[in-house]
Symmetry: C2
Subunit: 191 residues, 2 copies
DNA sequence: CGCGGGTTTGATGATGCTCAAGCCCGGTGG
DNA sequence: CCACCGGGCTTGAGCATCATCAAACCCGCG
C-alpha cells in the first residue's frame, strides 16, 4: 500500500526526500470495502481522493431511480465531485468502491495549506487537472460521434482488462445505455 | 483590447504591477474575422487561446461530413485542443471564430518559460483547469440524463443571451442533435 | 438447496435521424 | 432599386436506434 502516491507525484515534480514525506503527511489513508460509499447525494464532498489500489466510480440516481456512472477512477487516478468540493456545496453524486479499495484523501483546508507550504504542488495539480480535462475533451467527442455499438466496441477494444473487471451493468451505465441493450450488442458481436 | 487577460489573472492570483506586465509579454494578441480558422484538422495545435472579445468554437467533421461542436469559448474563457497542444500531436479538430474575435495566445515553449519564471502562474492555470474540469463533470451528467428537448430547454433557459448570439445549427451541433430536430423542438415550444 | 443479483431474450414503442422539398430573408450585383 | 441568389430555417414522411417492461434464466453464495 505504501508510497504509491509519492511515486505518482514524483512522476511530475521533484521534491527533496524530507519534503516528500512532509507532503504525504497532509493525506489520510482510507480503506473501502466493495460497494461502500464514501460520498452520498446531499452531502458536501469534503475530500479529493487518489486511488492507490482498487476502483471507484462516481454516479448519480435520476428521478426514475436509474444509476448513471459519470466516471471511474482506477489506480493512480484522482476523483472527486469538484463542484461540491471547491464550493462546499451539497453534491448530487455518490462515490462508491466497485472493489475493495485503498485511497489517499485530502480535504480542502489541508489542500490549501499544502499548496501554500509547497507551491510546487500547484504544478502537480495543474498537470493532473490538465490531463483530466484533455481526456474529457476526447470523451465528449466520442459521445457525440459514436453510436452505442461503436462506443462499446471502442471501449472494449482499448480497455479489455477493465471490461473483465466490472459487471456489465456498470459498463452500460457508464457508456450511456441500458444493460439490456448491451446484452443485445454482445450477442450480435458473437455471430 | 486592453488588459482583459491581466484582469482575469488578477481575479485568481496577485502579481506585483511590473510582474503583471512581464507576464503579459509572453502572450501574443490575435484578431480573427468571422468564420476564420485558427486551427485546422491535421495541424498541431500550437497555442492556448484566451478570448478577450468575441466567440470561438472547437469542432470536428465526422466521416459523413457533419460538423460537431465540442465546445464554445466566450469572453474570459480559455480554449485549445489540449491533447494536441500538450503532446504536440496533430489535432482532429478545428478552432474557428463564430464572430470577429480578439484573442491572447501563448505557445507551449513560452508557457513553460512563463511557468518557470513565475511559478505563481501554475496556480492560475491550476484553477483554470480545475474549473473547466468541474464544468465538464456537470456536462457529462446532463448528456447522460437529459433528452434532447430537456437539453435545449435547460441550455436556452440558462443562457438566453448566448442563444441569441449563435445560429441554430451551431447550437444543435453543440447540444448533440440535428438542426431539423431543433426546429421541431422550437415549434412545439410555442404551442 | 434455494435465494437473489446479474444477464439474456423478445415485443412494443418513443425518440431523434435522414432525405427531400419549400420557404424566408438578407446580401450582392446589375 | 430591384432581382436573384444562397444560406439557414422549417416541414413532413419514413426509418433506425435504443428504451421500456416483463419474463426467464444462470450461477455463485449463504
Amino acid at each position: 500500500m505504501p508510497e504509491i502516491l509519492k511515486t505518482h507525484i514524483a512522476r511530475f515534480i521533484s521534491l527533496k526526500g524530507e519534503d516528500s514525506s512532509q507532503v504525504l503527511s497532509f493525506f489520510q489513508s482510507i480503506h473501502l470495502k466493495k460497494k461502500q460509499n464514501i460520498l452520498s447525494e446531499g452531502q458536501v464532498c469534503k475530500q479529493h481522493y487518489f486511488v492507490e489500489k482498487g476502483l471507484l466510480r462516481m454516479f448519480y440516481i435520476n428521478d426514475k431511480g436509474v444509476e448513471h456512472t459519470i466516471q471511474f477512477a482506477l489506480e493512480n487516478w484522482w476523483l472527486t465531485d469538484l463542484m461540491s468540493y471547491q464550493d462546499r456545496r451539497p453534491s448530487g453524486f455518490y462515490i462508491q468502491a466497485v472493489e475493495a479499495t485503498e485511497l489517499m484523501a485530502i480535504n480542502l483546508e489541508d489542500q490549501e495549506k499544502l499548496l501554500e507550504q509547497y507551491p510546487v504542488m500547484e504544478k502537480y495539480f495543474r498537470i493532473i487537472f490538465q490531463k483530466a480535462y484533455a481526456a474529457n475533451q476526447l470523451r465528449i467527442k466520442y459521445i457525440h460521434d459514436l453510436s452505442s455499438a461503436e462506443m462499446y466496441d471502442r471501449f472494449a477494444g482499448q480497455n479489455p482488462a477493465f471490461v473483465q473487471r466490472v459487471p456489465q451493468y456498470l459498463l452500460a451505465s457508464f457508456l450511456g445505455f441500458t444493460p439490456e441493450y448491451l446484452s443485445e450488442l454482445r450477442r450480435k458481436k458473437l455471430s
